[in-house]
């Protein structure tokens, strides 16, 4: 079965357009299974909030369920599992660059947070030089 899929794909577009051989034809069953799995994972991630799990347990569970869902959607629903490796790499590798941005922005965010805290402490210690910082006052 798996062989038939890959063979279908590599030859489908070398052959003249039309006729059969286009795309992938799977039994409906596989989509129903993935559908069910997505429901289950969504329910699980909702329950994480419902039971108010906190801290690292919460964050780990949220990310695991999120990645599982994303993986199944891309691999099965978007047919990525049956594409050739060249296309897989071209689409799936570039987003990894975002991890660098993510890391930099996390460091930057921490730095801004500490700087703001220091500014507040200074404000409290020297009330004479009080300066309005409208950005920090919650609720306008």
């Amino acid at each position: 079965m798996a062989h038939a899929h890959s063979a279908d794909h590599s030859t489908a577009h070398a052959a003249p357009a039309g006729g059969h051989g286009e795309g992938v034809q799977h039994p409906i069953r596989i989509y129903l299974w993935i559908w069910l799995l997505l429901f289950v994972f969504s329910t699980f991630s909702y329950l994480v909030d419902f039971f108010q799990l906190q801290g690292y347990l919460r964050w780990t569970l949220i990310i695991i369920f999120m990645l599982l869902k994303a993986g199944f959607i891309v691999a099965i629903f978007m047919h990525m599992a049956w594409e050739r490796l060249a296309l897989k790499l071209a689409i799936l590798l570039p987003p990894l660059a975002l991890m660098v941005l993510l890391g930099l922005m996390a460091i930057e965010g921490d730095y801004t947070f500490v700087t703001r805290l220091q500014a507040f402490v200074q404000q409290i210690q020297t009330p004479g030089e009080h300066r309005e910082v409208p950005e920090f006052t919650p609720g306008h």
């Binding site: 063979a7 991630s45 978007m78 490796l85 987003p95 801004t112």
Partner: protein, 228 residues
């Protein structure tokens, strides 16, 4: 069919050798319909846009000194007198997953040349998308009118909550709305036999890619904005 035709064609290497031969040869790099390759590249660029939104949301949430409003409380809905956390969001998530399921089956029936079922499933997908946008409109009005959330502040805590929320869910809602129109157009063309005359149902799969991506983005928004 596939066994006979693969025997008549030159062998295509697999694995990493396949990558170099596909990329270095003076030929079409991706052996897929051009519409599919273009949609994937568009979705890749969209991935970067949504990631930038989510990463900037992370940045303001880390750097703010004010308390971040608890999404579990902000988005709770009172059902029969008891507040249920994230009630509407859970329903919206299920609706979007259901629509992804119907879309996947529409693609499948498209390749089987089943016009009626393909169109029906696509209209069902568009309808589910429309109900998603409707619920989002309800959520936005509730947040703006009842809770007093604005892009520049809110009564619950950190001012950045509003701007991040409206930006991220607004952009996603725009994608869903565009998807509803896109799917409807393709579904009408399926129904009037346009793709039978064209000889291929690839367009249905390409539209499906877009729709699944919208669902995919929601998975990340749901995890990082509503659950975190």
């Amino acid at each position: 069919m596939s066994h006979e035709s693969s025997a008549t064609l030159p062998a295509v290497p697999e694995g990493l050798k396949g990558v170099t031969s596909d990329w270095s040869a003076d030929k079409q790099a991706f052996p897929v319909p051009w519409g599919k390759a273009m949609m994937w590249i568009f979705l890749l660029s969209d991935t970067f846009i949504f990631s930038c939104f989510l990463i900037s949301y992370m940045n303001v949430r880390i750097s703010t000194t004010a308390q971040w409003p608890n999404p579990s409380e902000v988005f709770s809905l009172t059902v029969f007198g008891t507040p249920v956390p994230l009630f509407l969001i859970a329903i919206m998530t299920m609706i979007l997953i259901t629509s992804s399921g119907t879309m996947a089956m529409a693609v499948n029936f498209g390749y089987r040349r089943d016009r009626k079922k393909t169109a029906l499933l696509m209209f069902a997908t568009a309808l589910l998308g429309l109900s998603f946008v409707g619920m989002q409109a309800f959520e936005w009005s509730k947040l703006i009118l009842d809770e007093g959330v604005r892009p520049w502040g809110n009564p619950m805590g950190a001012a950045q909550f509003g701007s991040a929320f409206f930006m991220i869910t607004g952009f996603h809602g725009l994608h869903v709305s565009c998807g509803v129109i896109y799917l409807s157009v393709v579904a009408i063309r399926v129904l009037n036999g346009f793709y039978d005359r064209k000889g291929t149902y690839e367009t249905v799969e390409v539209a499906g890619l877009y729709w699944h991506f919208v669902d995919l983005v929601w998975v990340f928004i749901f995890a990082f904005f509503y659950l975190w």
